[in-house]
Amino acid sequence: MSTSTPSSPTLAEPLPTAPRGWHKLTRLIEPIVLLVPSGVWLLLLLVAPTLLILELSFIPGFRLGQPTGGYGIGNYLEIFRPIYFQVIWRSVLFAVGCTVTCMLLGFPVAYWIAVMAPPRWRNLLLVAFVLPLWTSSLLRAYAWITILRPSGSLNSLLSALHLPNQEWLNQTPAVYIGMAYSFLPYMVLILYASLEKLDKRLLEAASDLGATPQQTFWKVTVPQTLPGIAAGGLLVFITSLGEFVVPELLGGASSMTVSRLIYNQFLGATRNWGLGSSFSILMITGVSIAIALLLKYGDRDSALT
């Protein structure tokens, strides 16, 4: 890792004028200057706040400015009440559905760009595909409102084709469409990084040896890109699990998710900060487990690009 640590014994001849202890002290200046400011920042604005909500999550029914009734695990027991459990279950279902949809839609796209498209176009095609990621996520969700609302463009099109109109806005289908739209570029980006490294000679060899395209795909391509598939799947799962904007704007009242529930506990009508904190801690724990899985089984290189 750090081959340039300033402690290599052959080079560090102490200056004759400087006392030894002083030299040692000056050596500490550089790491302190480099690492302490951001360390303090993260400690104050990330670690301390997270520990604070961990504490709040153990105070049942904590509300701002009200006397509290001491510590307990009441907030965590609330999670198992059907009304809240349903919310967690729905969030997981949305995330799994979104991940599977993005995988099914994203793999052919990433495969075509990485393997089948002319090499000199590949970068350009990839950049063009993920370009919508650079636009505001709120406005991307808003675009789907204009398409899916009862008098929107989808229903205009369906009417013109004499097909029955669809009431998808503020229902589950709108959430799936919006989330797939939001996360498909991430999936393609990660799968592309993995497929690009695929040794194309293996594909040729397989077909030369008489494998059908299906066999080549399942026996060569998929095993070779499994770390990328795991990375893409887990990253899309994690991000969609915490998604707020799409279910909030496209899902209506029937699509309450964990993120929206936490939002309501802190800024909405109920304002139960203790309960909101326990959901927050639950979410952080879930995401951390997923990340631990990713680091163990996934392709770290493609996950970080």
Partner: protein
């Protein structure tokens, strides 16, 4: 590898047709917004004639510009602070070994994975309990200052400043990750050579290491800038009453109903971010060229 010149072989396969379809899926919503933004009708999806009225309304909307000003203030301040801190952190983590390094690294990557809502509520709780402690102190200090006939200090409250403090956390993480990736592909002997040739550590950092890192720092800054400009939750939870960033304004307008000037705003913002995206790609491309030419 056979050495024959590859023929332009663009077969029509189902994968290519599917990819085309997915490109349509990605761009159709944007295209539809662009069309609506030029439609003079307010409610109907039917085309009622070409008009720039939504753009005119957008550009005469003072609140949009105030929100844009707040957003830009937050983004530029947070990215500026993070560029310095994040680069220093990445260099420090690459150079030194110390107890607790794994923990430090892990914590610094947390903002990349923890959902925004969890960071947002935690920061709100932190600020409100911090202000709960600070307010009496400032009040007694003010009482003392009043006796001395001096100016009183403002009471701590949520403001643009707290939004910036909170945004630095995630901007820092993204910039540090991108700079770290670049540092691992760098020759560690370059800086040593500079030091051996008599440069001070500061000179070696500024003249040797920093120029190598500039493309990575810039693309990190661009990413952080985009994320900061797009952030709704962290701003929403850490901004006080007077602050309204652009995403907060868009959110409240979209929640209250459809308004065609949002279409116009989308088109303007999409053009701006496409420009930024292309700039970032260009910087990345240049960086890669430099690396290949070495």
């Amino acid at each position: 590898m056979n050495s024959t010149i590859p023929k332009p072989r663009l077969k029509i396969s189902w994968q290519s047709m599917f990819t085309l379809l997915m490109f349509g899926f990605m761009y159709l919503p944007i295209l539809i917004m662009a069309i609506y933004s030029l439609n003079s009708s307010r409610f109907s999806t039917a085309w009622e004639g070409f008009s720039f009225r939504w753009y005119q309304r957008l550009f005469s909307d003072v609140r949009i510009f105030e929100a844009l000003k707040d957003s830009l203030t937050v983004a530029f301040s947070a990215v500026g602070i993070s560029a310095v801190l994040g680069t220093m952190m990445a260099v420090g983590l690459a150079k030194f070994r110390f107890p607790g390094k794994g923990l430090y690294k892990g914590v610094s990557y947390l903002p990349l994975i923890i959902p925004d809502i969890a960071i947002a509520v935690a920061t709100l709780v932190f600020f409100s309990s911090l202000f709960g402690v600070l307010t009496p102190i400032v009040q007694s200090l003010n009482a003392f200052l009043a006796k001395m006939g001096l100016l009183s200090l403002p009471l701590p409250s949520l403001s643009l400043g707290t939004v910036i403090l909170a945004h630095v956390v995630f901007c820092l993480a993204y910039i540090a990750v991108i700079v770290s990736t670049r540092l691992t592909s760098l020759d560690p002997h370059l800086e040593e050579a500079a030091l051996d040739l008599g440069a001070t550590p500061l000179q070696a950092f500024i003249k040797v290491l920093l120029p190598e890192l500039i493309p990575a720092i810039l693309s990190g800054c661009l990413l952080a800038f985009i994320l900061s400009m797009d952030d709704l939750l962290i701003s929403g939870f850490t901004a006080g009453n007077g602050v309204n960033t652009l995403p907060m304004l868009i959110y409240s307008r979209v929640k209250t109903g459809i308004s065609p000037d949002i279409n116009a705003l989308s088109v303007v913002l999409i053009l701006a971010s496409a420009l930024l995206a292309l700039t970032s790609e260009y910087i990345r491309y240049k960086g890669e060229q430099r690396r290949l030419n070495r």
